[in-house]
Symmetry: D3
Amino acid sequence: MFHHSSKLQYHVKVDKPDPQFAKYLQQAIGGVEGEIRVAMQYMFQAMGARGDAKYRDLLMMTATEELSHIEFLGHAVALNLEGAPVTAQEEAAKDPIVNAIMGGMNPRHVLSSGLSAMPVDSSGVPFDMSHIYATGNLAADMTANAMAEGSGRVLASRLYNMTDDQGMKDMLSFLIARDTMHQQQWLAVIEELGGMEAALPIPNSTPESHEATNHSYYFLNTSLDEDTPEGRWSKGKSLDGKAEFSVVSPPEPLGQKPDLGKARKHSGAQKEQM
Amino acid sequence: MFHHSSKLQYHVKVDKPDPQFAKYLQQAIGGVEGEIRVAMQYMFQAMGARGDAKYRDLLMMTATEELSHIEFLGHAVALNLEGAPVTAQEEAAKDPIVNAIMGGMNPRHVLSSGLSAMPVDSSGVPFDMSHIYATGNLAADMTANAMAEGSGRVLASRLYNMTDDQGMKDMLSFLIARDTMHQQQWLAVIEELGGMEAALPIPNSTPESHEATNHSYYFLNTSLDEDTPEGRWSKGKSLDGKAEFSVVSPPEPLGQKPDLGKARKHSGAQKEQM
Amino acid sequence: MFHHSSKLQYHVKVDKPDPQFAKYLQQAIGGVEGEIRVAMQYMFQAMGARGDAKYRDLLMMTATEELSHIEFLGHAVALNLEGAPVTAQEEAAKDPIVNAIMGGMNPRHVLSSGLSAMPVDSSGVPFDMSHIYATGNLAADMTANAMAEGSGRVLASRLYNMTDDQGMKDMLSFLIARDTMHQQQWLAVIEELGGMEAALPIPNSTPESHEATNHSYYFLNTSLDEDTPEGRWSKGKSLDGKAEFSVVSPPEPLGQKPDLGKARKHSGAQKEQM
Amino acid sequence: MFHHSSKLQYHVKVDKPDPQFAKYLQQAIGGVEGEIRVAMQYMFQAMGARGDAKYRDLLMMTATEELSHIEFLGHAVALNLEGAPVTAQEEAAKDPIVNAIMGGMNPRHVLSSGLSAMPVDSSGVPFDMSHIYATGNLAADMTANAMAEGSGRVLASRLYNMTDDQGMKDMLSFLIARDTMHQQQWLAVIEELGGMEAALPIPNSTPESHEATNHSYYFLNTSLDEDTPEGRWSKGKSLDGKAEFSVVSPPEPLGQKPDLGKARKHSGAQKEQM
Amino acid sequence: MFHHSSKLQYHVKVDKPDPQFAKYLQQAIGGVEGEIRVAMQYMFQAMGARGDAKYRDLLMMTATEELSHIEFLGHAVALNLEGAPVTAQEEAAKDPIVNAIMGGMNPRHVLSSGLSAMPVDSSGVPFDMSHIYATGNLAADMTANAMAEGSGRVLASRLYNMTDDQGMKDMLSFLIARDTMHQQQWLAVIEELGGMEAALPIPNSTPESHEATNHSYYFLNTSLDEDTPEGRWSKGKSLDGKAEFSVVSPPEPLGQKPDLGKARKHSGAQKEQM
Amino acid sequence: MFHHSSKLQYHVKVDKPDPQFAKYLQQAIGGVEGEIRVAMQYMFQAMGARGDAKYRDLLMMTATEELSHIEFLGHAVALNLEGAPVTAQEEAAKDPIVNAIMGGMNPRHVLSSGLSAMPVDSSGVPFDMSHIYATGNLAADMTANAMAEGSGRVLASRLYNMTDDQGMKDMLSFLIARDTMHQQQWLAVIEELGGMEAALPIPNSTPESHEATNHSYYFLNTSLDEDTPEGRWSKGKSLDGKAEFSVVSPPEPLGQKPDLGKARKHSGAQKEQM
């Protein structure tokens, strides 16, 4: 069950409102790298968690924190929209600065939300819940979470660079910090479970008899004119400790030339296909 | 530049066509865990790759392999749809088996595609390219790729369990194997670059001055009644080697109570808000 | 800031797991009538609330309750999926009951989520945040909220009818009850602000000079062969108390026949259009 | 059956074409507050209307009017795009005014539609028919319609403020007026059926035995540190006339701590979860 | 301006309601091959039509007809849903026929729409207005329209085959007929304008100097092991009458090996990329 | 099976990077007129091709070429983003030129992709695979392909006009040329199969007994006040050679006035509807 307290998790101060930066900040709310995504992803993973109950708790606690991030970012967007133009002024069309502000804004921040945050990204595209990755497999989910936090911290770092506002920089430095922790906590779960060697290949419960293991450890060079890029993936022990990496180059097709034959009657094809 | 050869990368054989399994297989083509996603994700990451050119090559070569996976899976879907009913038979409404087949199919496999594969998932939802994660940050992208392959192998393992068809099991055992390799090759890139300790926090180029590092290494217990789940994330050295993990419980709000004041004139609010 | 406690807001018990009902329940989580929608809608409205601060509080408190609804519904979905088939049995294809179960399930409950809830509706379509209505206008938002709760209670009532499971009926009777309250609390805000007469037309801050008021109070009968349906809307005092309703029938076009002339050079049209 | 006549429902005149305003106007065509939405919503409600036939007529007649609104708004967008740049001029990159125009336009107005209207919103996001609310419940649908017209009139009022063009202001004053009528006509249906007291809770056909009525009339204060906001919703007779409003604060969880136990074999989880 | 009359364009009779066929019919309403698409496509093309005004009229008249198709198909869906189960019966779980009906239905036909049509396809995916193709180029638009009607008639023919209901077959035979006419009328526009030879390449207004015409008339064989399929496209006069078709096999890359160099500072990449 | 070689299909050179043009170019990658669409459309059509195998080859070979188009366009986007601002400069807010650049960019080119291409259109909307038209009917598919290439060449021509960069103009002149060929090759398939007369109506396999042929050859004038536009479609032999075109004006409804009667009990309607 959820509860709320009235203060924001972190202080939000905007020294100089900037409607264009409000648009950029939306990426951290409604973008695929944003906070709605992680809040909902951790919540759905928690709701489906099976096995040791502590992972459910870990997920739900951090889901709750991410909800608080949505809240203070939403406040930051609204504060950046203070003072944005809501009426056309007679001289505006001739004033490149006003035009540039308007051109750089998300018009829906005036037209649809009345100067407040929306669950959309910086292009104005609404967040879509298909991005909630929750597989029921702990290692797959932890990797998904590390990914979400990795891209989230990349985004927060870029937003930090895109503003000169000290209040915004301060708030973003907090987000950068929390993304640091969250990246690590999800990877720490994998480490606690024996590290990548034990976790891989995900899912580690697939019986070996279900796998064509002769195809499990070679890198396939599909290029006609490039040498195989050499690295940790092309030779040496596999990360799961079960085999040696190798290379196949060039690849041979292992299958047939596909042929579906003629179209069936009543299937809606042209007569010439039948 | 891309080229094509006429045979499939892997042999596809369907012993007993099953229109319901055709619907399930669609998840591996047009689902978020599917092959369109990885093909396009690696291709876009390759096109944006900066730094050592070998990573671009690695990405583009595997993008190319994934295109071949779409192709043989598409053939598998079509073969499973052979024999699916395309006309109503007078007795069908009374025949629970025929009805069950129809109820379990994706109707668009008859109505829209004429018994062949579509770029949709097993619910019939079209794949949406917002799932192509390509950040320009190598470590974030490699994590995204490991995630994609982790959820992909979970899916392939589940599909393997959901069929009794030996041809389909054979094909899926190949997919399971390639997902094993692909999971590892992306994580091997991170290992080659010094492992997680060097890569974290992603992006590792963010100056420490941009981060409120006093908030970077504690787990936040947002629960009112649960103890902090203890584990690798709650104490000991952080995974990036820079600090010690700790716990904050219960959290104190660090921000203000938000207040946006009155609505502006001409902003479309009710009079009572102004 | 958000907090969590470990118990569910309401007790969830499933006497006889039913994977098909799990699919139906998804409508109450990820459907447009569902709980993600109201949780996020109230949260975004709260974050953008201007004017008397008590409405922000009202919104955020109920947003928080709705998050708890997502949580217990998610548990209900998972419990209904207990025992769902995850492997094909040799005889399954011949068993209409097993086939009917599978045909009636959302296959992604096996393939993607591993027997747990997803942020999708009962057709498997992911929830899309464009459904978060938050205009910055209190009366418009309260109407949107009454609408959300109205369609939500319709849905909960239908779900109640579609199950025989006593645990599920009990849980749904709680949801029906809370939707009763929530419908009323949002409409009570409008009543407190003077009722519909004071609130209408929304927004009540639009200056009368911005409105072609000669077009504001007639019903337009656009039918060629039907009489105007008579009722409260066709005569008598308007609901905002400012005028009398009337009827215009048949309507006369007030505008010109549109004509865009020729296509411009370099605009990509055919030559014949220029 | 539908028919068309050649003149627009309202006169459209653009004194000074403004490609940026063309982008804004798109919100009134393809936005969630726009005319495609109401036209289609009323049409689908009409097609599903059961009960007194006059409501079907009412809905279909207004659906028809809204189609005419799409038509004249589409003309307004095209007229605003007259004169928009379709070729790069050598000096353009150095001319901030031209750049500002281009930056403020929807580029697809040049690239995709050839200077005419599109079924997208002001961010360029296509309208998505999931926004057509049609529940089969008359009161729920009337509330949805009042909401649509409320947000529609908020939008039209904001658009009015965002332009100095007298032709556009005139057209928008007509839209504002029609939204005034449409808000009221839908609420008038509810009034005619006995008002909110009779209509609530929606659906009013749910048997009382399906509702946990002990949970139907209290406001739940989920805040840890805020007093319950007092108002019409917290005490006094409920709007449906059946009970007294009360407050529960703080809420006690009524449910269990959720626990899904171990993952099943063959469900694709990690071994450690089983 | 639009008008409505009360009778349907075509008679709708359902002899034996079939909720599964109701789901299939949805493809003809809200599918990409369906009537919402053509109604809106022709309407937006009409609104953007430049050049000879008769094409605008042609488009708007047929848009109007397609609106009438939505209307009678919507009625057909509702009639097919008469009698669908809306409550669970105690024995239902054991009755494979009832289960098959439920498994084959769109659950939202009960849960969301109350037994009436929705703007979704046969998988329950809402129609999305990005499918409205309206380029401002008459020949491109006519081709898009021929395509829409081609896929529409394929769909109607398949639906005809999937039902035994005489009323439904009769209605679909009308749709098949109208799609016959509509296919031809759009292609007749091209024929009237001089046929494909005059229309191609679309747009025929692109100056020849903007085209690398040495690449305009060869078929590119990108296969490594297949001969070029010979046909009308591989030799002989081009369809625009300007050149001879030829074949290039195998293709030589004409471009460079792409290289983006190092990542910039402050761009959010890993240090190792800089 | 797919293969790759390291050089681009066509040379990409950007003389003066232009982040705004990078945004425009996205339409050619991730727009509905773009290269992802045609690559995937031809690939799915090939995978479902039945009948003469040469059409499968034709489709797959061109699918492969289109993948190469994505690749060089992606490089062009990245090169246009070189030098785009990634940090705020103190004076930027006062500099209309910098602001105009930023306002005209897709912010996600900085925030999400780190200065490289994305699978989105010029408004930032992700490509959605519902646009892959593949019906299993050869003539319908060829028409869809001609449409895709028609709108593609319109787009490329417009992009050509919108840039002054010689490198970009050169690259686009190649795209214009290839779209010329591709338009013609798909129409050449229809010509080879006997031309439109033989192909129409699509599908030509629908038995005449399934069609209400008395409705197949008249143009329906749905206008109340406009004469029928006369042309190739209104008289003379039909394009399929089977009949004479005629006109019906004004149309008479052929159906009944629809009436669904009362709502059923337990269907979630209001009592007044029952």
